[in-house]
C-alpha cells in the first residue's frame, strides 16, 4: 500500500485552473520533491496535501485512508514552512510541544519527546529562548523539531531553505538528508531550486503551469528528461538544445545544424534508435549536457560512441572546479564543461569530442523526448 496517493488532483480558482490532473503514488520512506518555476502550482499542491486548501477534484489517500475531506489536524501530517512560522509568544520548548499539547499527549511524555527531538537537532541549549532571539538556521531547526515532535505518517516541507543564506542552505540540506535516512520518514518537499531537488530526492516531480511534466528518479529526470522544459530546467548549466535536421545520407543518420551565414555542422549518429530513425528528414531538437563534451587534444580519436566536431570558442568562464566554455556551433551557442586548467582563448577554433550515448532528441513540435 502506498504511503501517499494523489489521484487525479485538480484545483481551480474560479475559471483559473491551477492544477491539472496530478497523480502520484508515493511509497513509504520516499523523499518526493516537487520542483518547478514560480507559479507552477507546487505550493498549491502542497497546501492541498496538508489540507489547508481543498482540491476542486480528485482524491488523496494516506496509507490507504481517504483524507480528502479531513481537516489538517486530522490527517496525521506535519509541515515545515518557508518562514518557519514559529509561535512568537512561546519558548522553543513550548513551540515544539504545541502539536503534542493539541493532541492531548500526557505531560511527562510531552517533555520527554521535546527533549529527544531537541537532542536530535542539537538545539537543547535553546529550549528556553523565544523565536526572536534565534538566528535563521536555529529557527529552521526549531521548525523541523516541531514537525518531528508528533512522528506523523507524512512530512511536508515548503521551501524550508529559501530564507537561509547560501552556505547555511548547503549545511541544512545535508542535515535534512541525514534526518531522512535516520527516521526513514516519508517526505514531500517543495523547492524551486533544482539542485536541492537532485540532491535530496528519491523521486522528483517536475511541474509547470499546474501540469506534471515528469515524475522520476533524479537520474531519469536528469538524463532522460521527458520534454524540453524538463531538459532546460534541470541541471546547471542547462542542457544545450539545438534545433537540427535529421538527415539521411548513404543509409546512415546525421544531425545537421544548418544556419544561414554559417557552415554546415554535421554530426553523424552511428547507432540511432528505431524511434529516432523514424524522424529521418525532419527537424528535431538535439539535447546534450555540457559535461558530455571534452576537448580533443592532439592525437585523440573519438571512441565508438563519440563524434568529433569543430567549433569556435566565444566565452570562457572559469568556476574554479571546472571551466565552462561557450562555443559557437553552427551559429548557435553551445556550452561545454571542461577541466579547470584548460588553455583556450576566445576566438580560438578548437576540436571537441561529444559522447553520443548521452544525446537526447526532442520532437520539434511536441517538445517531447524521442525515445
Amino acid at each position: 500500500m502506498a504511503a501517499l496517493d494523489l489521484i487525479n488532483v485538480e484545483k481551480s480558482f474560479g475559471s483559473n485552473k491551477i492544477l491539472h490532473d496530478i497523480s502520484v503514488s508515493l511509497a513509504h520512506g520516499e523523499f518526493l520533491v516537487l520542483v518547478g518555476p514560480s507559479g507552477c502550482g507546487k505550493s498549491t499542491l502542497m497546501n492541498i496535501i496538508a489540507g489547508l486548501e481543498e482540491p476542486s477534484g480528485g482524491q488523496l489517500r494516506l496509507d490507504g485512508r481517504d483524507i480528502t475531506p479531513l481537516a489538517p489536524a486530522d490527517r496525521n501530517i506535519s509541515m515545515v514552512f518557508q518562514s518557519y512560522a514559529l509561535y512568537p509568544n512561546m519558548t522553543v520548548a513550548k513551540n515544539i510541544e504545541f502539536p503534542l499539547a493539541m493532541r492531548k499527549v500526557e505531560k511527562s511524555k510531552r517533555a520527554e519527546r521535546v527533549k529527544s527531538v531537541a537532542r536530535l537537532l542539537q538545539i537543547e541549549h535553546l529550549l528556553d529562548r523565544k523565536p526572536r532571539q534565534l538566528s535563521g538556521g536555529q529557527r529552521q531547526r526549531v521548525a523541523i523539531g516541531r514537525a518531528l515532535a508528533r512522528e506523523p505518517q507524512l512530512y511536508l516541507f515548503d521551501e524550508p531553505l529559501s530564507n537561509l543564506d547560501a552556505q547555511l542552505r548547503l549545511d541544512m540540506r545535508t542535515e535534512i538528508k541525514k534526518l531522512h535516512h535516520r527516521l526513514g520518514a516519508t517526505i514531500v518537499y517543495v523547492t524551486h531550486d533544482q539542485i536541492e531537488a537532485m540532491t535530496l530526492a528519491t523521486r522528483i516531480a517536475v511541474m509547470k503551469g499546474g501540469v506534471l511534466q515528469q515524475l522520476g528518479s533524479p537520474y531519469e529526470v536528469y538524463n532522460q528528461p521527458a520534454n524540453m522544459f524538463v531538459a532546460g530546467f534541470m541541471g546547471s548549466p542547462r542542457m544545450n538544445l539545438i534545433k537540427s535536421r535529421l538527415a539521411q545520407a548513404n543509409g546512415s543518420l546525421a544531425l545537421e545544424i544548418n544556419n544561414a551565414d554559417h557552415p554546415l555542422v554535421r554530426i553523424p549518429l552511428p547507432a540511432p534508435s528505431a524511434a529516432l530513425s523514424a524522424y529521418a528528414g525532419r527537424d528535431v531538437f538535439a539535447g546534450i549536457r555540457a559535461e558530455a563534451v571534452r576537448l580533443a587534444r592532439d592525437g585523440m580519436a573519438p571512441t565508438a560512441t563519440e563524434c568529433m566536431f569543430d567549433a569556435r570558442v566565444e566565452v570562457i568562464e572559469p568556476t574554479g572546479a571546472d571551466t565552462l566554455v561557450v562555443l559557437d556551433l553552427g551559429g548557435k551557442e553551445f556550452t561545454v564543461r571542461l577541466e579547470p586548467d584548460v588553455q583556450l582563448k576566445p576566438g580560438q577554433d578548437a576540436r571537441f569530442l561529444v559522447e553520443l550515448s548521452k544525446l537526447v532528441c526532442f520532437d520539434a513540435d511536441t517538445e517531447r523526448r524521442i525515445a
Binding site: N47, L52, E53, E54
Partner: protein, 289 residues
C-alpha cells in the same frame, strides 16, 4: 481567520451571521429611533412607542428644530448655530492642517537639538484634559478681545488641534522615501522647494485623513464651545444641548431628535464618503495604531 477553505460547518457560519446581524441592528437602533421619532407628532410619541414607524408623518419637528426652536432666549432654531459651526470649522481645519504639515516637515527633515523632546511635548498635549486650560484661556481670550466670538473659537480649536495634525504629518513624512528628498536637494531645491514640490504633492492621503479627523473633532467639539462662546457664537453642539437640556415643561422629543440629527448630518456625510480615510485617522490618532 485567514482560512483558505470555505470556513467550517454551515451552522457555525449561520450563527455568526445571525449574531453580527443582531449586533448591527442594535447599533443602528438609536439612529433609527432618532429619525423615526423626529417625523412623528408629539402625541404619537407619547401615546405610542419609540420603535413604531410614524402613523402620521410630519416634517414639522425638523422645521421647528431648524428655525423656530427656543435656544436660550431666542426662538431661532438651530440654523444660525449650524452656520456658526461652519464658520468655526473651516478656518480651524485649514489653519491646523497647514501648520501641522509644516511642523511635520520640519520635525522629520531637519535635525536639531531637542527635536524629539519637542515632538514628545506636542504629543502629550494631545492627551491633556482640556479642563485644565479653561480658566487661563478664558482670561487670554478676554485680553485679546476674542471672548464670546467665533474667532476666539477658531483660535482655541486651531491651537489644540496642532498637536494632532503635527502627529499625523510627522508620522507620514517619517515614512517618506528619503531618496526623493535627497535627490531634490542635490538638484538644488531649497526649504520651500522640497516642501511644495516633493512632499506636499505626495501628501494627498494624509491631508485627507487630517482634514477628516479635524473636521469631525472640531464640529463635534463641546467643551470649548460651552466655555468660550455666547449666544451669538455658539457652535451647534452647544445649541443642541441648550435646546434639549433647558427645555422646561413640555419636552418636545421629536424636535430634540430632529435637532440631534441635524447636528450629526455633516460628520455622518463625511464619514460615509471617506470610508477608509476615517479609519486611518482613528488609527493614526491612536499614536502607533
Amino acid at each position: 481567520m485567514r482560512d483558505h477553505r470555505a470556513s467550517g460547518i454551515p451552522l457555525e457560519r449561520i450563527l455568526l451571521y445571525a449574531v453580527l446581524f443582531f449586533l448591527a441592528v442594535m447599533f443602528l437602533l438609536p439612529v433609527y429611533v432618532m429619525v423615526c421619532n423626529s417625523l412623528k407628532p408629539l402625541d404619537e410619541i407619547r401615546s405610542g412607542n419609540l420603535m413604531s414607524l410614524p402613523v402620521q408623518w410630519t416634517v414639522d419637528p425638523w422645521f421647528t428644530a431648524w428655525s423656530t426652536a427656543q435656544i436660550g432666549v431666542q426662538p431661532t432654531g438651530l440654523r444660525p448655530y449650524f452656520y456658526n459651526s461652519f464658520l468655526l470649522v473651516i478656518p480651524a481645519v485649514v489653519i491646523s492642517t497647514l501648520i501641522g504639515a509644516l511642523n511635520g516637515y520640519i520635525l522629520t527633515q531637519f535635525r536639531f537639538r531637542g527635536a524629539n523632546a519637542l515632538f514628545a511635548a506636542m504629543l502629550f498635549s494631545v492627551f491633556i484634559p482640556f479642563q485644565i486650560v479653561l480658566i487661563p484661556m478664558a482670561k487670554t481670550l478676554g485680553i485679546l478681545g476674542m471672548a464670546g466670538t467665533v474667532k476666539g473659537l477658531i483660535f482655541v480649536n486651531s491651537v489644540y488641534g496642532i498637536g494632532f495634525t503635527t502627529l499625523f504629518f510627522r508620522n507620514y513624512y517619517a515614512a517618506f522615501p528619503q531618496e526623493l528628498v535627497r535627490s531634490a536637494r542635490i538638484d538644488g531645491a531649497d526649504f520651500f522647494g522640497v516642501l511644495f514640490r516633493i512632499l506636499l504633492p505626495s501628501s494627498a492621503p494624509i491631508i485627507v485623513v487630517t482634514v477628516i479627523w479635524q473636521f469631525t473633532n472640531i464640529w463635534n467639539e463641546f467643551l470649548f464651545g460651552a466655555s468660550f462662546s455666547d449666544y451669538s457664537s455658539f457652535p451647534i453642539t452647544v445649541a443642541l444641548n441648550n435646546l434639549v437640556n433647558s427645555s422646561t415643561g413640555v419636552k418636545e422629543y421629536n424636535v430634540h431628535f430632529a435637532g440631534a440629527f441635524i447636528a450629526a448630518i455633516p460628520t455622518l456625510i463625511v464619514y460615509l464618503l471617506s470610508g477608509k480615510y476615517f479609519v486611518r485617522g482613528l488609527m493614526a490618532g491612536s499614536v502607533k495604531g
